[in-house]
């Protein structure tokens, strides 16, 4: 039947079909192409199109994409909805901020304090020496190790406490949300150790390198983009591996995986810890690019916003997560500039619309189908004018049978 149908098709459509078939019909190859498109967009497109200010903004948005990426892995693939990813983003960011703050608080620039050489907020809070848990952050090496490690250890502890006991679903989401609330209350309450609600501000240099200059912003953008692409590549390799298939299986039928002899808790732990580590890297890059860290990233609201970013992009699409984050945050910036007093309502309406109309997010939109439908209709219309006999326009093209195995 496909043969008979294709013989009626105009040459252009056939050619297009052929090209798209070759390029896109293999799911893996298709993903690689889209990944390449994203890489070009991030590494070439944005830097060429945008000035430093907007590039820095995009850089900031991309740090949230690390979190969204982690959410796609653990929520979209593993079925573990975490409403507390801000915790890991914040921990990574705070680790970085602690190092930068110590570097900014040298004896010379803090000479007006009662105790020179410690961060200013400690001095305000009557601390007279650096708390022990700050000491490791004097070393850049230890800081870089701590950024993914500290959140991973917390994620591991949470996993051990919950997945092993088979706590999942809504209960897990509620517990992660509680963790986010606890951590933000802790940070705000212990301001002598954490900077409190102000956060850790006035960060200047990274090992003597001024992170506030335009050239530094540019370099940090590329480092950030490269790390993000690396994280996406790693995620793809995981999804394509046995672990990826197991994740899907756990999401769809947990008991079955359990009964086939796999330890479901371990599978969930791995992906949750990985998501935490991704978020932490994003947090650290955020601190570097924005120049401060505050508890407003740790709490419940930012954690949920990050889930929304992932949902807008499509929760099972790694690349969609990046686009979702970019679009949501660009929307926030744009609307808040255009309508300073109404923008929150606009954003709210946008989220509702996305969830109601595109429940699978951007990745659920079917562009190619729409495009093909349009093309065939147009060509059908052209033929109709030439040859009224072939009145019936072909229906939306059906799949070539050869490739049905890709899913």
């Amino acid at each position: 039947m496909p043969v008979a149908e294709s013989s009626r098709r105009p040459a252009a459509s056939v050619a297009l079909r052929h090209v798209t078939t070759v390029l896109f019909n293999d799911a893996r190859r298709r993903e690689n192409i889209y990944f390449g498109v994203l890489a070009v967009l991030l590494l070439v497109g944005f830097p060429l199109l945008l000035d430093t200010f907007h590039l820095n903004l995009v850089g900031k948005y991309l740090t949230y994409a690390f979190v969204a990426l982690g959410l796609v892995l653990c929520w979209g693939y593993g079925g573990i909805l975490s409403l507390g990813q801000g915790v890991f983003f914040g921990l990574g960011g705070y680790c970085m901020a602690m190092f930068l703050k110590l570097e900014a608080s040298d004896i010379a620039s803090t000479s007006i304090q009662s105790t020179p050489g410690i961060p200013d907020f400690m001095d305000w809070n009557q601390l007279t020496k650096l708390p022990a848990f700050w000491v490791p952050f004097k070393s850049l090496f230890l800081t870089v190790v701590a950024i993914p490690l500290v959140p991973s250890v917390l994620a591991l502890a949470l996993s051990a406490a919950m997945f092993k006991r088979r706590v999942g679903g809504v209960y897990f989401a509620i517990i992660t949300q509680a963790v986010a609330a606890i951590l933000s209350i802790l940070i705000i309450g212990q301001q002598g150790y954490t900077g409190g609600v102000n956060g850790i501000t006035d960060l200047k240099t990274l090992h003597g390198w001024d992170i506030r200059s335009d050239s530094a912003k540019m370099i940090l953008y590329f480092v950030n983009a490269a790390l993000l692409l690396g994280a996406i590549a790693l995620s793809f390799s995981i999804i394509r591996s046995k672990l990826g298939r197991l994740l899907l299986a756990v999401r769809d039928r947990e008991e079955r995986v359990l009964f086939t002899g796999y330890d479901v808790a371990n599978i969930k732990t791995v992906v949750f810890v990985l998501a935490a580590a991704f978020s932490a890297v994003g947090g650290a890059m955020f601190t570097l690019q924005v120049g401060f860290m505050s508890p407003s990233f740790v709490g419940i609201v930012p954690s949920i916003e990050m889930v929304i970013c992932a949902a807008v992009g499509g929760r099972t699409s790694l690349l969609g997560a990046v686009y979702g984050t970019l679009i949501v945050n660009y929307g926030k910036t744009y609307f808040s500039e255009a309508f300073p007093e109404l923008w929150l309502f606009v954003i709210g309406a946008l989220f509702i619309a996305v969830v109601m109309i595109f429940p699978d997010g951007l990745a659920g939109l079917d562009l190619r189908k729409a495009l093909h439908g349009l093309l065939t209709r147009a060509s059908g219309f052209a033929r109709k004018r030439k040859k009224p006999a072939a009145l019936v326009p072909p229906a939306a093209p059906s799949a070539p049978q050869t490739n049905a195995g890709s899913q």
């Binding site: 001095d123 102000n198 679009i327 939109l365 799949a399």
Partner: protein
Amino acid sequence: MHSPLSTKTLSAGLAVVLAATGALLGCSKDSSKGVGETQAATTASAAGGLAVSEKEVVVGQLHSATGTMAISETGSIEAERLAIDQINQAGGLLGKQIKIIQQDGASDWPTFAEKAKLLLEEDHVACVFGCWTSASRKAVLPVFEKDNGLLYYPTFYEGLEQSKNVFYTGQEATQQILAGLDWIHKEKNANTFFLIGSDYIWPRTSNKIARKHIENVLKGSVVGEEYYPLGYTEFGSLINKIKAVKPDVVYAIVVGGSNVSFYKQLKAAGVTAQNQTLLTISVTEDELLGIGGENMVGYYAAMKYFQSLDNDNNKKFVAAFKAKYGPNSVIGDVTQAAYLGPWLYKAAVEKAQSFDVDKVVAASPGIELTTAPEGYVKIHPNHHLWSKLRVGQAQLDGQYKVVYESELIEPNPFPKGYQ
């Protein structure tokens, strides 16, 4: 049924298109701005690339119009707009009309930093009137210092800061605290103090200064010091402690919504001005409106400005404010301080005969404002204002009756012996 042609991954393509549109939007915005920029650059090269043209000068306004802080910051937004309107009506700045670009900090500190960057790096505003909380000021400070911007910050705050790029039109902590304590020590023979605060940097630093002053200068004693999280509403145990300790003075720096619960619960527990002296530095007329005069009547507040101040400047200011924003609007300390910002900027620009930030900053110290609603202020070389302290007593109608007025107090953001 599944068709590879309609697989979901493809839609990532659409996402590319959308993202590209976003980028283009960003670009088109740039290019539209580019016109203004080049114009500004050609006409006002002396102003260092600021958005100053033949006819107008662009300034920024950066407060929270949304979120939890909106209720506090609205007064500042209104006061700054009123001042700018009045300046424009009187002929503007160096013959140019002032145009405002307002951005919303949304009660979110990172948003403040982002919008500050936008105002300085994209809009090239000549100066910014903005911020309210210390946290938001801390967030934008690195941006202003890096881009050499100019910020007029209206709120009374904890001090411990002095930036070349910021003018602080509210009082720093010592200006607001010391004279008030001296007065209540002398007037009420107060020697024991119970310090209360919301738990963040301003109340903590202020109470630290208060404690040093009470112990070292007044030779009194602090019989209690307690902090509660922002938004805390259960003050029962605190009130019991106060009743047990019976301090001469309760020194309260509770902020925001907590205020309402605190004063209502005090009254419900039978603690009123008849049996307990209370001095606060955190309840302006704005807060008093929410608390209700009946819950605070007789308590004292130490501020540099009260709406009821009896002088001609203030009468004009209050009348103009009510004419613009309605007869029921109230004016608190910070609202008045925000009103000073544009006028101080005008005086500095006219003295410098330039909009250039360095020149305006250099011209600022020593500038006096005799038309200030609070009476008279003068810019100190440390970028704070010389101003007086008043003690007001809360009235049933939600206003304060001024019971004490100090001499002009020198600002001292880094007080020796109080750290």
